[in-house]
Amino acid sequence: MQADKWLQPRDNGLYCIAADYYIDPTSEVANALITHGHADHAMGGHHNVVATVPTIAIMQTRYGEEMAQTVQALDYGASIKLGDPDDPVSCTFYPAGHILGSAQILLSYRGTRVVISGDYKRQPDPTCSPFEAIDCDVFITEATFALPVFKHPPIEQECEKLLHSLALFPERCHLVGVYALGKCQRMILGLRSLGYHQPIYLHGAQRRLCDLYQDHGIDLGQLTDVADVSDKSELAGQIVLAPPSALSDRWSRSLPEVRKAMASGWMQIRARAHQRQVELPLVVSDHCDWQALLTTINEINPGEVWITHGREDALLHQLTTQGVKARALSLIGYDEDATD
């Protein structure tokens, strides 16, 4: 049966009519399938949640053990049946390569296969399983960085920049704005892979999720809370990771001669970096850049592409020009700045 008959955008998000499940709903609903733990995809308060084990753990860390009334863990590759047992929707999770636990969701109903990819990327990331291309009739893609100006460099190159700056300005505390979930841990591993084994200092907001990653077997090396450093002058020439909002708030004033950096895909655009008064923009993204989006869609070669979450118009234009059937899903509630 044609996908748009049983899977539709609603006010609360994408809704599977045949299963009575929402995917990444933006307000509280009865049944939710969650692709990954970022706040604009995973919220607390749903009745029943299906997600991967790490995603459930992330949600519980953020929203408490009671984040939903019932939770059901689903491993990559495993399937469950949803909706009417006599006319079920089959649901399978596959890795999305975005952050720890991130999943693409394959829904298959009466012979039609739809992949909801959530957020995803193709660059290597040691904190999560790599994206898998799944054969499908409809591929639903994000479009966060869907403009040809976006080109994400390898993370090593950006970590190199940070280390270079550290060598150039050894008296300055390098305060790096990173989102607490995913980007933070990936940056740490990026630095470690370049042989940086000093303690990395954390703003309080980064701690719980770093611990969670370590609990899932990802070794982040020595991490120290800034709060535990009594003499802040010791942070000269050190790396401090903090949420982007902390870059300009009073918290950072206790640090010695702060040099502000930020790791985000948006940092490629000068005005964006300027707005945040960032002196050292690091282009690090957990999404696909333009070329990766096109490559992925080519590789999957689905019957149809639905586009959401960002700059739908450019990708829609490109796919249409290439002769790929595509439409923009106008889902509301996703905040492009909330995660990247």
């Binding site: 040809p148 100006v149 655009i269 000068r270 005005a271 300027h274 118009d313 490109q318």
Partner: protein
């Protein structure tokens, strides 16, 4: 070129002035002549030619990318050079780049077709950051948060000399500034510029703080009109003569009538105006002469330009900037009597001896359409380039206000390039809105974000970079004056319009009419 590009990136993202100075001094110390001199020229805005036009860059880009994708990218990035820097197809191997001076030379010597080939060659072999640097350099659009004045200050720090010495020399020197570096690095004497026809940096005034007029000791101050013209500097030496704008642009060709018949040596500070046989015409009349590279004889006869002169920096060959204003004034009067030029008039001193008379002079000036208010200058002030505090004040007529409706919006530049920050507004006439001006200041950063958001949600059309918006938002605009103008469809032109208040609450239908606006014209 790579070192220069790296310098630009670092300067661009550094906010502290000390840090910027450190970066630039490091570059100067580690870069040879003539590259570093050209870098200074690029940063200080003395690189006086374009390598290529923005449009040529755009066309080359459009040969390589889908036009719709280009438009969407440009709209998002908000700035052409950066859009092209990111969009240009990457090649696998980056090429060896020439030094900055070499690169400038290559572009300078190339004809139009060769320029294109050069541009393609370099863009294709460069990183995105280098591309951005080249495009900014080549279109003279370099803005890395470093003013020409800061560049001079840093040069002074570099050579450990007073910045005033650099200021005085500056306009007599040209890129790549070898003799300047020779002096700054102690290998040669200070360059000798006696008699050179060159711009001298001007002294500027501060707005008079509110309610401070009654507390002034009037006898300490020289009181003159503030003229509604263009500040200029007339330079006459044995080697020649020239007329400069207050930023140092040579505008001699546009105003040959100001220069003609003046042979008495000196550097004269004054106001450019249209003067018919001693009678000063309006700013609107002057506007017809502005931006005319070579005015026709007829226009010169109809709108003869002259100067109201108010200060003298050099008398003959002698620098008199260290003298007091009162002494300079005497010298000026004597200079003018020698010059015998009818189109040069002395700015009269207003006979004001107490605070009451000062207040009366201000009230009279406010009612006079020919002037903008008063100038108050300390009689003992020496002539100091820049804007020294407490020396000169302008006391302008109170701003006027109109409630106007936003009609079009455009993105700003530099830091504001991702925001809609330039607004065209209009007033009602026969049930339609007629544009009467443009404003891009007067709002806070917070308000700018709200305005930007409003534009995005209320755009109804697009003409290139310009967005037409729903005619729903009223702003109270403030401006210094309103004049009749034949060049605008509305028949009026505003002086220095800016936002005063955004009236989110006010329905557009209640905005002012053209009749209201015309009623504010002082005649």
């Amino acid at each position: 070129m790579d070192a220069f590009s790296q310098l630009l990136q670092q300067l661009y993202f550094t906010s502290s002035n000390n840090e910027k100075s450190r970066l630039l001094r490091y570059y100067l110390a580690n870069t040879a002549d003539p590259d570093r001199g050209w870098a200074i020229a690029a940063l200080a805005g003395t690189l006086k030619f374009e390598f290529f036009k923005r449009n040529a860059v755009k066309n080359l880009m459009l040969e390589r990318v889908d036009p719709d994708l280009f438009a969407m990218s440009y709209d998002y990035v908000g700035e052409m050079s950066e859009t092209v820097a990111h969009l240009w197809p990457d090649t696998t191997s980056n090429i060896e780049l020439p030094g900055l001076a070499d690169l400038i030379d290559q572009f300078r010597q190339a004809n139009r077709e060769q320029v294109k080939a050069l541009l393609v060659h370099y863009l294709s072999g460069m990183t995105a950051e280098q591309r951005w640097s080249l495009l900014k350099l080549g279109t003279r659009g370099l803005r890395v948060g470093l003013s020409a004045r800061s560049v001079k200050r840093i040069l002074a720090e570099y050579g450990q000399v007073p910045v005033s010495e650099i200021e005085t020399l500056w306009h007599a020197l040209s890129p790549p500034y070898r003799e300047l570096f020779d002096w700054l690095e102690g290998r040669a004497d200070k360059p000798d510029i006696t008699g050179a026809v060159t711009f001298h940096p001007v002294m500027l005034s501060h707005p008079l703080p509110d309610n401070s007029a009654e507390r002034l000791t009037v006898s300490d101050w020289q009181v003159e009109y503030k003229y509604d013209g263009i500040r200029v500097q007339l330079v006459v030496t044995e080697q020649g003569k020239a007329l400069y704008s207050r930023t140092g642009d040579d505008i001699s060709e546009s105003f040959p009538d100001v220069l003609s018949g003046v042979d008495e040596c000196g550097v004269i500070d004054g106001e450019l105006l249209i003067i018919h046989d001693g009678e000063i015409d309006s700013f609107n009349a002057l506007q017809q002469r502005l931006n005319r590279k070579k005015p026709a004889k007829k226009l010169i006869t109809q709108k003869p330009a002259g100067m109201v002169v108010y200060d003298l920096l050099t008398d003959g060959n002698q620098d008199i900037t260290a003298l007091s204003l009162t002494e300079r004034r005497q010298r000026l009067e004597y200079w003018l009597s020698r010059a015998e030029a009818r189109h040069l008039q002395l700015s009269p001193l207003l006979p004001v001896s107490n605070n009451k008379q000062l207040q009366q002079a201000y009230t009279d000036a406010a009612a006079d359409p020919g002037v903008e208010g008063l100038m108050l200058k300390r009689k003992d002030s020496s002539y100091q380039p820049g804007r020294p505090s407490g020396q000169w004040f302008k006391w302008k007529r109170e701003a006027q206000h109109l409630d106007a409706v936003i009609m079009y919006a455009q993105r700003g530049h530099g830091k504001r390039s991702s925001f809609y920050s330039d607004f065209t507004f209009g007033v009602w006439h026969d049930n339609t809105l007629l544009p009467i001006g443009k404003a891009y200041s007067g709002f806070t950063d917070e308000e700018l974000k709200k305005l930007d958001n409003w534009v995005r949600r209320n755009a109804v059309g697009r003409f290139g970079p310009v967005r037409e918006v729903k005619k729903e938002l009223v702003v109270e605009v403030a401006f210094d004056a309103i004049h009749p103008s034949s060049r605008h469809k509305s028949g009026v032109a505003l002086r220095f319009p800016r936002f005063h208040r955004i009236r989110w609450d006010k329905p557009a239908s209640e905005a002012d009419t053209l009749t209201n606006a015309k009623a504010l014209i002082i005649t």
